[in-house]
């Protein structure tokens, strides 16, 4: 009985559709296979993200009873509603909206970073726009190319506000807002500051949802090409865990296919001298972090301890919670650890002057670009990491070099900093770091072997998750958050003493690095993220070793070079500091 009351029958293009109350016309149409174009609409409701401003007006359909056009992405169906998605009025309305957008757009697709991956462009194609009847003044804002991570070209902005939703509502960083009004509206930073002058975390989530090229990662590929072509330089590259489960999408594979071997081959062909695995750094991070945690617990240090491998998250706490800077772990992120070791351990072993080493990383992440440029990580002019390219930039380099990715053989990572366990693989997803850390901390504290390594309660897409793990006679209270808005909730609870945790993992991006700002565009499809996540857990399962402290190359590193976890050498190379910054 109840169920029936909740159901609604409507009619779309003559087809009868039964849907639940609260369904939008767009969803109802999808149900019967009727496609309606959309642009501003973005719906990742599984992780609580939705841009519902209904402002682009390219999804207009006709409500027959009223004879009026309504936005299908936002208007809910009602009982007996009759919708015509392809009436003349609707088609004309939609076309006009798009034509107007294009009349205020640079239209330089050929050299645009979004070419062939652009929602505006494909819409123009789909709606058969072959002429723009209206012309007049266009926006003319200077491009912002000053930041380390993100380039902003407001002239390509269509004011869909997806980025504002991401930055303001989801990440609660509030860097972007519409300024002015009318035709002069521009989605921008406060006072038109350069992005680098704001409290932007470079999480890149604005980039990952921007339908056009108004927001994109800074293009670092020219610098990397230059390094590769410089005979004097020894160019090393490392690859982050989340890259291997997403790169395939750029070459026509389904989301979640694991392409580790092909990635290594591609990098070799591009001419890198050594190809390392950031996962090695992840295993190392776990050991250092677990040591720090045990130390903090035993010595009565500050708890909770927060993981610090996500640089966007680090930026966030520096700007938004300067009073809590004693809680993040002092460990550098895996990327920086691999960088630091390449320029010390590896350099020493191979007798290369660290100054001649160029360290490049392939990351799912925009924030890693900014992280690499952090002063704290650039001591004496020698950066741990020199250049960072996103998964997308990497795919562009492959294409540029005319490498046929699909035909690449699989190759292994180079050994010195190449071995990795399953624990490291799951670093790329929310909950993964803490799960990996727990595996190690357990054995470190109890001295016993951990039999069941899968901590299911730490997995999933829930924004904030809590878990309690029994380790010997203590129980470790764990908090997990992904997306910075959720992190904020957790931090406020800690600051105000409303909740206690021993250790917390935070990742800035939805789903963790699998949903990073540098990944192939998900175009609003949550399943893409879910498949990437599953692939990482599959990878973990498939590996013989699943605990970081079992990584032999890591153990060797301690024997040969660092002496022991938490040693002063380890501190010098693998740990860092944080400082309070102004909130803007």
């Amino acid at each position: 009985m109840k169920l029936i009351e909740k159901m609604i029958t409507c009619n779309i293009n003559g087809l009868k559709v039964d849907v639940e109350k609260g369904t939008t016309i767009l969803q109802a149409a999808e149900k019967v296979g009727i496609h309606i174009p959309t642009l501003c609409h973005l719906d990742l409701h599984d992780i609580g993200i939705a841009n519902q401003s209904a402002n682009c007006r390219v999804c207009m359909v006709e409500d027959e009873a009223r004879g009026a056009l309504v936005p299908s992405c936002a208007e809910l169906v009602s009982e007996g509603m009759k919708i015509q998605t392809d009436s003349m009025k609707a088609v004309m309305g939609r076309r006009t909206s798009l034509e107007l957008l294009l009349s205020n757009h640079p239209q330089d697709c050929l050299t645009c970073v979004k070419n062939l991956d652009c929602e505006l462009q494909s819409l123009a194609h789909e709606m058969n726009i072959k002429e723009i009847r209206y012309h007049g003044e266009k926006m003319s804002h200077p491009k912002d190319l000053t930041s380390k991570g993100i380039m902003k070209d407001s002239n390509k902005c269509i004011m869909c506000r997806r980025c504002v939703t991401m930055c303001d509502e989801v990440q609660t960083v509030g860097i972007l807002s519409p300024l002015k009004r009318g035709f002069d509206v521009v989605v921008a930073t406060a006072f038109h500051l350069d992005l680098g002058e704001t409290s932007c975390t470079y999480c890149g989530q604005c980039v990952s949802v921007c339908p056009t090229a108004a927001l994109a990662e800074m293009n670092d590929t020219p610098k990397i090409w230059r390094a590769l072509n410089n005979k004097e330089k020894h160019v090393i590259v490392q690859v982050a865990p989340a890259v291997r489960v997403a790169i395939g999408e750029e070459f026509g594979y389904k989301a979640g296919e694991i392409k580790t071997g092909q990635v290594v081959s591609a990098l070799k062909r591009l001419g890198f001298d050594s190809v390392f695995d950031t996962n090695f750094g992840a295993d190392l991070t776990i050991i250092e972090e677990a040591t720090e945690l045990v130390h903090r617990i035993e010595q009565g240090g500050t708890l909770p301890m927060l993981t610090s491998c996500c640089p966007a998250w680090v930026q966030f706490i520096e700007h938004q919670f300067p009073e809590l800077l004693d809680i993040p772990s002092s460990c550098k992120s895996p990327q920086q650890m691999v960088g630091a070791l390449s320029k010390s351990y590896y350099a020493e072993k191979h007798g290369i002057d660290p100054k001649d080493i160029v360290m490049v990383s392939v990351m799912p992440c925009v924030a890693k670009k900014a992280e690499a440029a952090r002063e704290e990580l650039n001591k004496d002019g020698l950066a741990d990491v020199d250049y960072v390219m996103t998964t997308r930039e990497f795919s562009r380099m492959i294409k540029e070099a005319a490498i046929d990715f699909k035909k690449l053989p699989e190759s292994p990572f180079d050994i010195l900093l190449g071995e990795a366990t399953g624990a490291a693989a799951i670093f790329g997803t929310t909950g993964g770091v803490i799960e990996a850390a727990t595996r190690t901390a357990y054995e470190m504290i109890t001295g016993k072997e951990l039999k069941e390594v899968d901590f299911k309660q730490m997995r999933g897409f829930e924004g904030v998750r809590e878990a309690t793990v029994k380790i010997g006679d203590m129980s470790l209270k764990i908090g997990i958050a992904h997306e910075l808005g959720n992190a904020r909730k957790l931090l406020e609870a800690i600051r105000d003493g409303r909740n206690h945790f021993d250790v917390i993992e935070i990742m800035a991006c939805p789903g963790g690095c699998i949903g990073g700002g540098g990944q192939p565009y998900h175009h609003g499809d949550i399943n893409v993220l879910k498949k990437r996540q599953k692939a990482l857990y599959d990878l973990d399962k498939s590996l013989p070793k699943r605990k970081s402290h079992e990584n032999e190359m890591v153990l060797k590193l301690y024997d040969d070079f660092l002496t022991k976890p938490g040693s002063s050498k380890a501190h010098e190379l693998l740990h860092t500091t944080y400082s309070a910054k102004q909130r803007i």
């Binding site: 303001d168 960083v173 509030g174 860097i175 972007l176 807002s177 519409p178 300024l179 002015k180 009004r181 921008a188 930073t189 406060a190 006072f191 500051l193 350069d194 002058e197 704001t198 102004q582 909130r583 803007i584």
Partner: protein
């Protein structure tokens, strides 16, 4: 340069004190009253430079972009300093049909300014406003609080001269 325009320590302490007192006096959700706070801040500082906006943002725990978005949305808020005299030309319909556009054009020409910009000598800022509710006397021009009704194009020179003169005497 950027740092300077955002530097809150440059602001007059006693004015900030007054602004704080105002914010403290607000009841209920303070963020909701952002527009009232901005009105008060503009009253105190004359206009809303970036550092004042940032100060308000911090005081109300809002982001700078949010405050700047609100300030730039409403035509009452000025980010730039205004001249000694604000000349508002009513461009409401009643005034328009009585030739207010010509009056405005003339004033802009004589003061060598653009709308909403301060004249070089710092004397005038010219704005066009919507109906001030004195349509009976259209077209209407106001200079600060003084209202001029039934203004003719050829009277504009005289009106401006008067304020220029006042200024020289000072």
């Amino acid at each position: 340069m950027r740092k300077e325009i955002l530097d809150i320590s440059q602001l007059d302490k006693s004015l900030l004190h007054e602004l704080d007192a105002y914010i403290d006096s607000l009841k209920g959700d303070k963020q909701e009253q952002l527009i009232h706070v901005l009105h008060r801040a503009q009253e105190l500082f004359g206009h809303l430079p970036y550092n004042v906006q940032l100060y308000v943002a911090h005081a109300l725990k809002l982001s700078g972009a949010k405050v700047n978005g609100v300030v730039t949305f409403y035509s009452f808020f000025n980010e730039e300093p205004t001249g000694k005299y604000t000349i508002s030309v009513c461009m409401g319909t009643a005034c328009f049909v009585k030739g207010a556009d010509k009056v405005l054009e003339r004033i802009l020409k004589l003061t060598k300014t653009k709308k909403n910009e301060m004249s070089e000598d710092g004397l005038f800022t010219i704005k066009d406003v919507r109906c001030i509710g004195a349509c009976g006397l259209a077209p209407i021009v106001t200079v600060n609080d003084k209202v001029y009704g039934k203004v003719k194009v050829n009277e504009v020179d005289g009106i401006l001269e008067k304020y220029r003169g006042d200024h020289h005497e000072n």
